[in-house]
Amino acid sequence: MECVVQGIIETQHVEALEILLQGLCGVHRERLRIHELCLKSGPNLGLVASEVRLLCDLEQPEPTWIVRHIGGAMRGSGAEQISVLVRTMVESKVSKNVLRLFHALGYRLDHELLRVGFAFHFQRGASITVTVSSVNKMLKLHATDEAVPVTPGIQMVEVTAPASSENYSEVAAAVSSFCEYLAPLLHLSKPGTSTGVVPTAAAAAASLMSDAGVTT
C-alpha cells in the first residue's frame, strides 16, 4: 500500500523547489533517471488485462530493475476525507531478465516513459519520498537517449510514502502535513485531480532563490 499525491510545477521554479526541499528534508537530493516500461497482459492471461510497470534505474552504475504493480485506490467516504490517495502497490527488485520473463508470460509493452529529475528520501512521521522529474517520451522504441519531454514547461512532483492497512491514516496525515510546507510553491492533490499552478509560486520562488534581502 502507498499514499501518493501529485502536483505540477513550472520548470522555471524547479530550482527553488529543490532549495525548499533541501531545507525541509535535511538530506541531499538524489539524481533520478528511470526508464519506466508499462506492460499489459495479453488475452491468454485472462479477460481483464493486468498492468505491470518495470522501472529501470539508469542512474546506477549497473542498471537495477524494479517491478511494480499498482492496484486500486481506496474508495469510500473515509477515502474522500483523506487528502492523499491510498492505493495498493506491490513492488520488488528483480533481475534484468524481468523483461524477458514478462514477454514470455504474454505481456506486451503498452507504453514507456523516461523520468529525469531528482528525489529526496527522508523520514518525517513516515518514510516519505519526493520526486521532481520531467516526464519524457521516446519517439522511437526504447530510445532513451532521444527522449523529449511530454510537457517542456511543466514537471511532475510526486510525494509517496509506503503504508500498510493499519497505519495508512498516520502516513496520510504525515504526507499531507508535509505537503502544506510546499504550499507556497505548488499544490498537491490525488492523482487524477488537477490543481493548476499556485499564484504565489513566482514570489515564493524568487524569495527562495534570492541571496540578498533576507531579513528575519
Partner: protein, 557 residues
C-alpha cells in the same frame, strides 16, 4: 477569581440591599433602572456563578482522576465565562455611582479583604507606579498652572500623533519600493487567463501521461527497434525478441510460422502443446537406434514413479522441462511418450500447456537460440542419424516396432505402442485407440504425407517446430496441433504405419473421417495433399499390411 467573587458578592449584596430594606414598594430610581436592569443582572450573575462552579467541579474531577484535561474545552469555557463577566461588569460600571457597597456580613473571611476591596485608594504598587508616570509626564511643569499643564500635554500628544503618522507613511512607501507587499502576505501577481489555460492544458497532458500512459503509446507499425538499444536493454532484448514482443501475439506467430498463426487463431495453447507432443512423439521412430528398450518388451524402460508400469495410473507427470534437461535421450524419449500417454488420459494441465506454449513461442523464434530445448536438437540429431539412411531402413525400423507390437498383442493399435512399452500399457493403449478414432483427418493426413516417403528429413524435423525453412514437416506438425491430445498418437500411428506401409494409410483416414481440424493445414507442403477428413486422395494408399487393417477395423468400432 477572588475579584470575580467579590464583585459577585457586591452585585448580590446590591440586589439584596435594594430589595429587603424597602420591601414595600420602593424601586430604584427610574433613571438608574433605565440604565441597568437589575433583575437581569442578577440572573446573569447567578448563572455565571453556576457556570463557574460547574467548571471548577469538572477541573476538580479531572485532577482527581489524573486524566489529561481537554484543554480546548476548558479554554473555551473560560473564554465564555470571561466574556459574560466582562459584559456584566460593563453594565454595572455605568451605574456604579448609584450604588454603595455595604458589607452585610463581616466574618472571619471577609474581615481581611474587605478593607482592601472597599478602599478607593490604589494599591501601593499601583500608587507608586502612578506617581512615577505622573512625574515623568509633568516633569518641569508641576509648578505651572494646571491649564498650562493641560495645554502642554495636548501639544505633546499631537506631536506624537503626527510622528506616528509620518512613520506609517514611510513604512508603506518602503514596502512598496522593496515589493514586500502588505502585511497580509506576498503580493499576488494575477496569472494571465490565457496563460492559465495553457498551463492547465499542459498539466492535463502531463498527468494523463504519467498516470495512464496517454500520448505515449505508439501504434504497432511505428514501433521499430532502434538500431542501437540503450545499455540496459542491450542484453535484455535480442533483436528477435524485440520484433516479436512488440506486436500482438497473433502477429508474432504470423511472422515466424504462418501455420501457427492459423492454429493460434483457432486453438491457442493447445496447439502449442500439440506441436510439442508431436515433436516428442517424433522421437519414437528414432528410438530403435538409440534406445535399448525398443526391441525389448520385457524391460521396464521407465524407472520413474509415475510411469504407467508402476501401477499408478496417470499420475502427475514430471514437468517436461525437468525431464528433458536432465535425462538421457533414450529416457527422454520414453518419458515423453509416457507423458504423452498420460496427458491424453488426463487433460492437459494448464501448467504443461503454458510450458508448451512457451516452448512453442521459443521455438517459433527465427533465431532458434541456444536456450531452446536441447531435446529438440537431440531428437533431431538422432532422427537425422536414423533417417538419413534409405527409407527402406526406416521401414525396417518401424517394422521392428510394428512386429513387436503385433507380437505383443493384436489388440494393441499400431499407433499406440511406443518402443518397449509393456503389456501393462495395453489397456491404456486400447483407451488411446479409442481416442485415436477421434483424431482429425487433417492431422492424420499430415502425418500420412510425411510418412509417404517424402524425404526422411520431414519426419526428422517433426521434432523441431523451429525449422520451417529446413523442412516442411514442422509445419505439418503444427498443423496437427489442432488435436494435441491425439496428435502424438496420430503421429505414432503414422510413423508406424508409414514405416511398415506408407501406403497403408487409407484405413486410418477412413477412421478419422469423423473429425476435422482442417485449419491446421495452412502449412502443408506444396506437394502434400491437403487431405480432408475422409478424403480418398491417397490413390497410392493400399492396404498392404493386413495387420494394420485389422487394427484399423478394430479402431473403427
Amino acid at each position: 477569581m477572588a475579584a470575580m467573587e467579590g464583585i459577585q458578592d457586591q452585585s448580590q449584596q446590591q440586589q439584596q440591599q435594594a430589595a429587603p430594606p424597602k420591601p414595600a414598594a420602593e424601586r430604584l430610581n427610574p433613571a438608574v433602572q433605565q440604565q441597568l436592569n437589575l433583575e437581569s443582572v442578577k440572573t446573569r450573575a447567578i448563572s455565571l456563578y453556576k457556570a463557574i462552579s460547574r467548571i471548577l467541579e469538572d477541573i476538580d474531577a479531572v485532577a482527581r482522576a489524573n486524566a489529561v484535561p481537554k484543554w480546548q474545552d476548558i479554554l473555551g469555557q473560560f473564554s465564555m465565562v470571561n466574556l459574560e463577566l466582562f459584559n456584566i461588569m460593563e453594565d454595572i460600571k455605568k451605574v456604579s455611582k448609584a450604588f454603595v457597597v455595604h458589607p452585610k456580613n463581616v466574618n472571619v473571611e471577609n474581615s481581611t479583604i474587605l478593607p482592601v476591596m472597599l478602599s478607593s485608594k490604589l494599591l501601593p504598587e499601583m500608587e507608586t507606579d502612578d506617581n512615577f508616570k505622573k512625574e515623568q509626564l509633568l516633569h518641569g511643569m508641576q509648578n505651572l498652572p494646571i491649564s498650562v499643564q493641560i495645554e502642554k500635554l495636548k501639544t505633546r500628544i499631537d506631536m506624537i500623533g503626527a510622528a506616528c503618522e509620518s512613520a506609517e507613511k514611510v513604512l508603506a512607501e518602503t514596502r512598496k519600493a522593496y515589493c514586500f507587499g502588505t502585511r497580509q502576505g506576498p503580493t499576488m501577481v494575477p496569472i494571465d487567463k490565457v496563460q492559465a489555460a495553457k498551463i492547465q492544458e499542459q498539466e492535463n497532458l502531463l498527468r494523463a501521461a504519467v498516470n495512464f500512459g496517454e500520448g505515449l503509446r505508439m501504434p504497432l507499425d511505428q514501433r521499430k527497434i532502434t538500431s542501437t538499444l540503450p545499455m540496459h536493454l542491450v542484453d535484455v532484448l535480442t533483436v528477435g525478441d524485440g520484433v516479436q514482443t512488440f506486436s500482438d501475439a497473433s502477429g508474432m506467430y504470423m511472422k515466424n510460422t504462418p501455420p501457427q498463426s492459423s492454429i493460434n487463431a483457432t486453438q491457442g495453447l493447445l496447439q502449442a502443446s500439440g506441436a510439442q507432443l508431436i515433436g516428442r512423439s517424433a522421437a519414437s521412430p528414432s528410438g530403435p537406434t538409440g534406445a535399448t528398450s525398443f526391441d525389448n518388451t520385457t524391460t521396464s524402460p521407465l524407472p520413474y514413479a509415475n510411469s504407467p508400469r508402476s501401477g499408478t495410473n496417470m499420475m502427475n507427470t514430471p514437468s517436461p522441462q525437468q525431464q528433458t534437461q536432465h535425462q538421457q535421450q533414450q529416457q527422454q524419449q520414453q518419458q515423453q511418450q509416457q507423458q504423452q500417454r498420460q496427458k491424453l488420459m488426463q487433460h492437459m494441465s494448464p501448467h504443461q500447456q503454458q510450458l508448451l506454449a512457451q516452448q512453442l513461442r521459443q521455438s517459433s523464434m527465427p533465431g532458434l537460440g541456444q536456450n531452446q530445448l536441447p531435446q529438440l536438437h537431440d531428437l533431431q540429431g538422432q532422427a537425422q542419424q536414423k533417417f538419413q539412411p534409405l527409407p527402406g531402413q526406416q521401414q525396417m525400423q518401424f517394422s521392428q516396432t510394428m512386429g513387436h507390437q503385433q507380437f505383443q498383442s493384436r489388440q494393441l493399435p499400431s499407433g499406440h505402442v511406443q518402443h518397449g512399452m509393456g503389456q501393462s500399457q495395453l489397456s491404456q493403449g486400447n483407451q488411446l485407440n479409442r481416442h485415436l478414432s477421434q483424431f482429425s483427418g487433417g492431422a492424420n493426413n499430415a502425418l500420412f504425407n510425411a510418412a509417404q516417403g517424402t524425404p526422411s528429413t520431414q519426419m526428422i524435423s517433426n521434432m523441431s517446430a523451429t525449422m520451417p525453412s529446413q523442412s516442411l514437416l514442422p509445419r505439418m506438425q503444427l498443423g496437427l496441433a489442432g488435436n494435441p491430445q491425439r496428435s502424438h498418437l496420430l503421429s505414432d500411428q503414422m510413423f508406424n504405419m508409414g514405416a511398415a506401409n506408407p501406403g497403408g494409410m487409407m484405413p486410418m483416414q477412413q477412421q478419422q473421417q469423423q473429425h476435422g481440424s482442417q485449419g491446421a493445414f495452412g502449412n502443408m507442403q506444396p506437394n502434400a495433399q491437403n487431405l480432408q477428413p475422409g478424403m480418398v486422395a491417397l490413390q497410392n494408399a493400399t492396404q498392404n499390411h493386413p495387420n494394420f487393417s485389422q487394427q484399423r477395423q478394430q479402431n473403427q468400432q
